[in-house]
Amino acid sequence: MKQFNRRQVLRSSIAGSMLLPGLTECLALDEQKRGTNQKTHFPAKAKNVIFLFMTGGVSHVDTFDPKPALHRDHGKEIKADHPEIKDRPGYERIYLKRPQWEFSPHGESGIEVSTLFPHVATCVDDIAMIRSMHTSHSNHYNATLGMHTGSFAFSRPSIGSWVTYGMGTVNQNLPGFIVIAPRQTYAGTQVYSNDFLPAINQGTLVVPGAEPIANVSPRLPKDRQRLELDALQALNSLHLDKRSNKEALQTRMKSFATAYGMQTAVPEAFDFSKETESTLHNYAIQPNSTAGFGWQCLAARRLVERGVRFVELIDTGSSGNWDAHGDMMSHVGLAKNVDQPIAALLKDLKQRGMLEETLVVWTTEFGRTPFNNTADAKGREHHPWAFTSWLAGAGVKKGIVHGATDEHGLRASEDTVHVHDFHATILHLLGFDHEKLTYRHAGRDYRLTDVEGSVVQNVLA
């Protein structure tokens, strides 16, 4: 009867050599490969993006787009061929509705911001405010999909996937495109899907909490995991002999080394224990809590520091969000959740010199109607005709307002910026001609901006 025991076993040279040296070697190899996969079309101003997405439709006239005439004309009946009132019972007549928050000028630029965003207001001199945004759909699902993929109905690669596809990843131990969201937003996983782009470009979902990325927490003590990995790599080495698909097999072997590293790198990135108390305080983070947008913002800074290309932060989910049909007062809590953290993020990035290479994007899927069906209605409806988004950081002109809506904030009227133009501009800041960043799929060259889009030159520094 054979038994496994030390005396019987002739120590195998294979197994021993595959221990950590094997892994370290792989990591070193990746180190050399750092940099971008692709060449940009012209020198990139921005190397990273932090994309702040406010779910549900933020009211522009209550936040970043002051409309004195809307105060003046409150209760006045207007006519509009608006998608949200068409054939809708009870909406035969509509009346202007005044903003509920006061605006005042801020900074040297004097850009007006409402009292909903007192902290962001202190950063306006670093921001290019686009007050003439408009989009192609008045439904959350479609508008959210459009803002993320450039397509308002079909599934297509997300902007984050396009960016990582274009620029490649820097830190081999972290995904290039990370989405931090407490809950799923509209259109589900499609908003961060790589779709037909290579899978390496898919958004990795981080849900604030115990295990930020699926399967990143070791299930076993380190020593056991190491033994298993060594055995695995030894088996793989034996198997590799004479295979015609060596490269694929080696890539897979290497991916285990990367995954091994991720188990440390990912928790490290989300471990705020080395952050100073004042930093945590600035971001409004409660001790030992992952709740709130402050945690998401600080995580974004730490990820960008570690070479993650594209970090998207989604503030809420597909319900309990900015969709204030019932009462605009719900904007108070939502703004409070994000305002201080966003300002802290901008200031933190600036102070660390990171804002010069990082593009910060703030947007929502559409605005909210400056009218409603009664003069004293408390809420506002979906409004694709006009909303405000802003850019800050790498390559962006500082302290300017681009475009305008009409006197009531009903329509984007000057220098209008469609979602496709917005995307084209973001890609431009990253060094890409949006018409040339294409991918051949099903017989066609696809791009983020479909067949539209032009760069908003005025916001470029």
Partner: protein, 977 residues
């Protein structure tokens, strides 16, 4: 003698190749730019400003501007444009109001400066206009289309059982490149390859041994026959087809509603392939099985209806799917083009195809066929429930069962405890003996301890039969929201007598909203206007199996999460907790009827469980109803009736399918915009293939279309190419969804021709073709590439060896289940979706679920809006669009799966547990390698295993499970040679 003259075919194919080469090198780029300018700037302008009077049947002054021919011929004043010559172009004069004045003042007046500049630039640069001309269909001239390789007739030849032709045609391309075929693979490699290839599962070790020891000349044929006869064949090859037809179990509209009946189509596909249904009939049934069943039997009729699930599984779009129905038709046309014809028809929705001979009119000719078809309705947010399903049992039986149900339901409703008179009476009674012990508002993210507000009332004398009630009140109607609650009562003189609402958490699935525990009775009530029981039992709330409760309609409701972990639904719900959700106009109340007199301490909390939802929050009230007769009255009220659980709706077998609807031709949509309707286009076959008109226009035309498609050589080529692709990983045409001008040319045109001929000769049955392919030497080569091959043919397009491949997502999962002894091989049926009556999915809270199963992966529930995490990780199919071929990506998150995933670890433990009881380590190691690798370990591997066993801490089972993990994660397990 050869069954057909090889040399002739060869020279013909050579011509085809040359032609294909020419077509592929056409200077696209030069006109693509001009095209783009036309599409982006010129066409929209013409549509917006000129079409009103100069398009379709309206051609004012005889001028039509909706085609190149229109302005070339011109109107009463002569040709409208002289390309490149502004002076001679009447159009330019007219828009500048020189002589003619266009557009006239009453039609919008002159164009602005930018618009004039666009038309001027267009005319000046040659007036490139890609719109139909008589010699042109879409992106190809008629002459080109006539000779396009994939449209050519397939010549009939007799069926053969010999695979020699395949080898000959493959070798014909090896020789010129200086390559030779590889040696024959060893038997273990061969049977492993064949078993995965035909069934998607690993072979059993016993089968490997039997094959290795079978000295008969037809040993491999016997293996193939056994695999083809196994039910796992249809599951694997059915999955291939389901990829192509983008099968999913949800509708894909904004709330991603479940399709509870579409599984019948999935199973029909599997069964049809197992029966080797001829592929032309297989496809015909999917397009028009309802109109033309295979025979006259009831079973055939039923199956014919189920088969049209191919059409009804089309993706739905938007909020109100009826408003975006044109997108569903596009999804269908696009899919049938790609899956059945290798054609990208969807491109022609907005404009004529830019590269292939398909016009927008062709698209709308097909569109009319589908808009004349009635589709089962999956429901959507504004119209929540499915309708238009097709009965699969005779109508009279269905009607009887429905009537029985309705009678039972009526009886149930009549017996409900909520009789208005009794509620009113109790309300009056309640009001007589009523005291509020505490009340408080719960703001955004608020969390209030009851004790902080009860004050002196925290300990209270309560008599048997009196009621303590925790009511949660909506504020205005903006406060109604998910609220976590706890109510505890403790007899201060006998602390062991203690009741806590936490005990209810696991009891929500009991059969009544009134629950007795140790003499006390808890009740879930609507207390807006007297006590009203919440009698609608809710299970799997939000599609989550941890959430159950009681409600009236959607709310008010009480529900609990039995999960140990937070549950993410409309918000993240904490584990093991009880919740209430008042209605927008209703308050909820949890009442406790005291079991015996005593002094009770009242405690607990009320907490906002859905922060950041805005609104005014809720408030609560602790109430004491101080009359010992009230409790018994309430209990009697809950019991004075029969059943509290409603009768279950009979499950009638129905199909989510299609039938003919209101038949009409469709109008063309300019630029694909359904608001810009153009001419009516008669339903017909594609112009380039003859444009046949419908013989029977009283029908939708699906039946005729299914015949046109399956009798066209392009169909045969598309399918033959797919069969080859599904055996070798790569098609002879490497773009299997596109055999048009943007697709790749065939690497082995004659081989594809041969396969097509054999497919036809074998009546479109797949199994004889599998035998032909798998018995070829080409298929049976080993997977070792020669140095030469690596250099001259790095992609192995010439097939000088068998290209190894990684297992697909489904193969990985099924293999893990199989080797660990967990695989349930019985066919899957319906998914455990929540009952339709409970659906309130919206874009804010879409359907979302993952259902664990140990059945084969083809039976997993696949959602459109949220990809299954496992399938997404390992390059599974995209359920939103046709997946022509699987990717084989390697990303670190896959490695994380093998390091830490629970399912994977469980498989390794199950594998170890399954090892036969033996003290002999050699036997155990052998067993493990046999099950996982279908071979015994080499000496080196055995040493490695020895050392691992020695080094790894823990019990023998721990050690074996750990080593099993290494084997299951290894390249040998994951790759097929």
């Amino acid at each position: 003698m050869h069954p057909y003259p090889v040399t002739n075919l060869r020279s013909r194919a050579k011509c085809l190749l040359v032609l294909a080469g020419l077509l592929c090198s056409l200077p696209y780029q030069s006109f693509v730019k001009a095209d783009e300018f036309f599409e982006k700037k010129v066409r929209p302008l013409l549509i917006a400003k000129c079409y009103q009077c100069h398009s379709g049947t309206k051609s004012a002054g005889g001028l039509s501007l909706d085609s190149r021919r229109g302005w070339e011929m011109g109107g009463d004043s002569g040709p409208a444009i002289s390309p490149g010559d502004l002076e001679k172009s009447l159009l330019i004069q007219a828009i500048n109001y020189q002589g003619l004045e266009m557009p006239p003042a009453d039609k919008g007046g002159p164009l602005n400066k930018d618009e004039i500049a666009i038309l001027t630039k267009w005319v000046e640069s040659g007036a490139q206009d890609p719109r139909i001309s008589p010699e042109q269909i879409g992106g190809m001239s008629k002459a080109q289309a006539k000779t396009w390789w994939s449209y050519q007739t397939i010549h009939k030849t007799p069926a053969t059982q010999s695979s020699d032709q395949i080898d000959e045609l493959v070798r014909a391309q090896l020789g010129p490149a200086g390559l030779t075929p590889s040696a024959k693979a060893d038997r273990r490699t061969l049977i492993r390859r064949a078993t995965y290839d035909l069934t998607g599962l690993p072979p059993r070790y016993e089968d490997v041994v039997a094959f290795v020891n079978d000295a008969s000349p037809d040993a491999f044929r016997k293996v193939i026959d056994r695999l083809l006869d196994s039910p796992q064949y249809g599951e694997h090859w059915g999955r291939h087809w389901l990829d192509v037809v983008r099968y999913a179990d949800t509708a894909g509209e904004n709330s991603d509603r479940p399709l509870p009946h579409i599984w019948r189509y999935r199973n029909w596909v599997i069964e049809a392939l197992n029966k080797d249904m001829p592929f032309d009939r297989f496809v015909q049934q999917q397009l028009s099985g309802d109109l033309a069943p295979l025979d006259d039997t009831n079973a055939a009729k039923t199956n014919g209806i189920i088969a049209t699930g191919y059409l009804s599984v089309a993706r739905r779009y938007g909020h109100d799917i009826n408003k975006d129905v044109h997108l569903m038709y596009e999804d269908i046309i696009d899919n049938l083009g790609k899956s059945m014809l290798g054609m990208t028809l969807g491109c022609a929705r907005c404009h004529d195809h830019k590269y292939d001979p398909v016009s927008a009119a062709d698209y709308y000719a097909l569109y009319g066929i589908f808009s004349s078809t009635k589709f089962s309705f999956p429901g959507c947010e504004p119209i929540p429930h499915p309708s238009g399903l097709y009965n699969l049992i005779p109508d009279d039986i269905a009607a009887t069962r429905q009537a029985e149900y309705e009678a039972a339901m009526a009886k149930f409703k009549a017996q409900q405890p909520n009789s208005p008179e009794e509620i009113a009476r109790l309300k009056t009674e309640y009001a007589k003996h009523y005291e509020v012990l505490a009340t408080k508002d719960i703001g955004e993210a608020g969390n209030e301890q009851l004790s902080s507000h009860l004050g002196d009332n925290a300990v209270r004398k309560i008599r048997k039969g009196e009621i303590i009630q925790l009511a949660v009140l909506r504020n205005g109607n903006y406060g109604a929201d998910t609220t976590q609650i706890q109510l505890e009562l403790e007899n201060v003189d006998a602390p062991e007598k203690r009741w806590s609402s936490d005990e209810l958490i696991t009891l929500m699935d009991s059969d009544s909203p009134s629950i007795e525990l140790r003499g006390a009775t808890w009740s879930f009530l609507d207390v807006t206007n007297g006590p009203k029981f919440l009698v609608d039992k809710r299970t799997d709330i939000g599609g989550n199996s941890a959430l159950h409760g009681w409600a009236a309609g959607d709310n008010p409701s009480y529900f609990s999460s039995v999960s140990d972990a937070p549950v993410v639904v409309w918000t993240t719900l904490p584990p093991k907790a009880l919740f209430t959700h008042p209605g927008p106009n209703e308050d909820s109340g949890l009442s406790w009827v005291c079991p015996e007199d005593g002094n009770y301490k009242i405690s607990g909390f009320v907490k906002d469980a859905h922060p950041i939802s805005g609104g005014d929050g809720v408030s609560f009230r602790i109430e004491h109803f101080k009359d010992p007769t009230l409790g018994p009255q309430l209990i009697a009220f809950s019991k004075n009736n029969g059943e509290l659980v409603p009768p279950i709706k009979p499950v009638l077998p129905v199909a989510f399918a299609v039938s003919d609807g209101e038949v009409a031709d469709a109008k063309l949509h300019e630029r694909g915009d359904p608001e810009l309707e153009g001419d009516v286009i008669a339903r017909r076959w594609l112009d380039v293939f003859g444009g046949n008109e419908l013989a029977n226009p009283e029908q939708s035309g699906r039946q005729e279309l299914s015949n046109w498609i399956t009798s066209h050589p392009l169909f045969t080529r598309t399918i033959a190419n797919r069969i080859w692709q599904w055996h070798f990983g790569k098609g002879i045409v490497t773009t299997p969804n596109d055999l048009g001008s943007r697709g790749a040319p065939p690497s082995h045109p004659l081989l594809l021709e041969f396969l097509c001929q054999q497919l036809v000769a074998h009546d479109f049955r797949l199994k004889p073709i599998h035998r032909l392919i798998m018995l070829s030497e080409t298929y049976q080569q080993d997977s070792l590439a020669s140095e030469k091959s690596r250099n001259v043919d790095p992609g192995n397009l010439r097939l000088s060896y068998y290209s190894p491949r990684r297992l697909t997502a489904e193969e990985i999962r099924d293999s893990l289940l199989a080797v660990s002894g967990q695989l349930d091989t019985s066919p899957g049926q319906a998914h455990p979706f929540p009952a339709e009556t409970t659906w309130n999915f919206s874009q804010h809270a879409p359907f979302n679920a993952v259902y664990p199963t140990t059945k084969r992966s083809v039976y997993m529930m696949v959602q459109r809006q949220r990809r299954h995490p496992f399938l997404a990780l390992f390059d599974g199919p995209d359920p939103n669009t046709s997946t022509a071929a699987r990717n084989q990506t390697t990303v670190p998150s896959q490695a994380l799966y093998f390091l830490n995933d629970e399912f994977f670890h469980h498989a390794s433990v199950a594998t170890a547990d399954r090892l036969l009881d033996s003290k002999d380590s050699q036997t155990l190691a052998d067993q493990l390698y046999q099950r996982l690798y279908q071979r015994v370990p080499t000496e080196k591997e055995f040493d490695l295993t020895y050392q691992f066993y020695d080094d790894y801490p823990g019990s023998p089972n721990d050690k074996w499970a750990a080593f099993a993990r290494a084997l299951l994660a290894s390249n040998e397990f994951l790759y097929i040679d």
